[in-house]
Amino acid sequence: MKYLTMILATFALPALANVDIVGNVEAKCVIQTTKSGVYGNPIASKLSTTPADGGVLPVIRYDVSIADAYTANITHPTSFSSSPTLSDTVAWTGSTSVTQTSVAGMSAYEAAKTVVDNTTIFNLTLAGSTWFSTASSAVYGTAKPFSGGTYTASVVATCIPK
């Protein structure tokens, strides 16, 4: 009888439990680098990714699984992330355009793009993959030759939910 009392007392204690709720959200917008860019050096004072200048345009692919939910914001460089010491100013120019699509309608992104400062914004209204390429050029001083060395600049691509 003594033991029975103890068991009942045990069941009478308040129950506590922590129940986890886990949710996995797959990325609906994925950015992939399809091709890295290369600066050509057509004249001593200029670096350019344009193929005509001996450069290679970098290509970025956006894979979007939800239509009309994101914008692609791509910023062309305005400074070198690494370079020899420069004593003069560098004049930067650049642009981004749609080079390839997985849906014919995405071809309209190009005409609908907006440019704010150095950032080009594309409204990703269709689900699928879109390839963007960015042209970049840097002119040193007033036609001053660039110092010898390796120059690196970055294109920043982001996927912004609307």
Binding site: T99, Q100, T101, S102, V103, A104, S107, A108, E110, A111
Partner: protein
């Protein structure tokens, strides 16, 4: 413990991957229509598991244009694959699409094409099929395939000849089996058989004689060869003693007089010599 044994033995139960994968060349490299037989490898067990295409449009933005990429159904009407890109009202660009397909058997795929509807054209078209080939589609193709059965060779049937069933043989079998035996229970041959044996013995004798003649001639040749060798060995085996061998002919110093009998001839030779010398000086 049982699980350990199961895991240890698991690989021995697994089959080798019977599939090989590949990609076709660009089906649209030469023209905007193609036959699948020309771009896929031949053989059975081939499935199409993917398709990739890319092209660039050339058009005015305001124009209507549709591009159809399709493959006809080889086993019936309609298409086994068809995709349409609507470029109406959008500018030119390059499109790239890829499709995963549920391993559709290659024989089901009919001719492929890219058709343009509306205003505009395309360039740099690329259409590539990815395929899977099952080498065990026919299990007998490879001994490693599941279901492979060791082939049993076909045994040719031969007609067994039984001489006793051959009428021609039976007719010629000697009917008279009553042989005569002497007191030692030896069969007594008839005269004809004895005669045959005699002929055989004669033949053997002649052959033996011929062999004997040949053997005699051979021995004679061997003896001659041995004699020749013995005769010549005398020269090979001769030894010359050492020492000095002096000349045995001595010529004592003296004036050898001219042959008077040849005087006339000597003078003629001298005259001729002088003439020849004088000819050099045109005398």
């Amino acid at each position: 413990m049982g699980w350990v044994l199961f895991l240890a033995l698991w690989p021995s139960y697994s089959q080798c991957e019977p599939y090989t994968y590949g990609t076709s060349p660009n089906a649209a490299s030469a023209a905007l229509s193609w036959s699948m037989g020309n771009i896929l490898p031949s053989g059975s067990g081939l499935d199409i598991n993917g398709l990739i295409y890319r092209y660039r449009t050339v058009k005015n933005t305001e124009d209507d244009m549709k591009v159809h990429i399709s493959n006809k159904n080889a086993n019936g009407a309609g298409y086994i694959f068809r995709e349409t890109d609507d470029w109406s009202g959008v500018p030119s660009n390059t499109i790239l699409k890829q499709f995963s397909l549920a391993n559709i058997p290659a024989p089901n795929w009919g001719d492929g094409s890219i058709e343009i509807e509306g205003q505009g054209s395309i360039e740099d078209a690329v259409v590539i099929y990815t395929f899977r080939m099952d080498k065990c589609f026919d299990p007998q193709a490879d001994p490693s395939c599941a279901g492979y059965k060791e082939p049993i060779p076909e045994i040719p049937e031969y007609e067994i000849y039984d001489a006793l069933e051959d009428d021609a043989v039976v007719e010629n079998i000697e009917d008279n089996l009553n042989y005569d035996y002497d007191e030692d229970e030896t069969k007594i041959e008839d005269d004809e058989e004895e005669e045959k044996e005699t002929r055989l013995e004669l033949g053997l004798t002649a052959s033996a004689n011929a062999m004997t003649l040949l053997r005699t001639q051979g021995q004679s040749s061997i003896i001659n060869a041995m004699n020749i060798k013995t005769n010549i060995d005398i020269y090979y085996n001769s030894a010359i003693n050492g020492g000095i061998y002096k000349d045995t002919t001595n010529l004592s110093d003296a004036e050898i007089p001219d042959n008077k009998n040849a005087l006339r001839n000597n003078l003629a030779q001298q005259v001729l010599h002088n003439k020849l010398v004088d000819m050099q000086y045109n005398k």
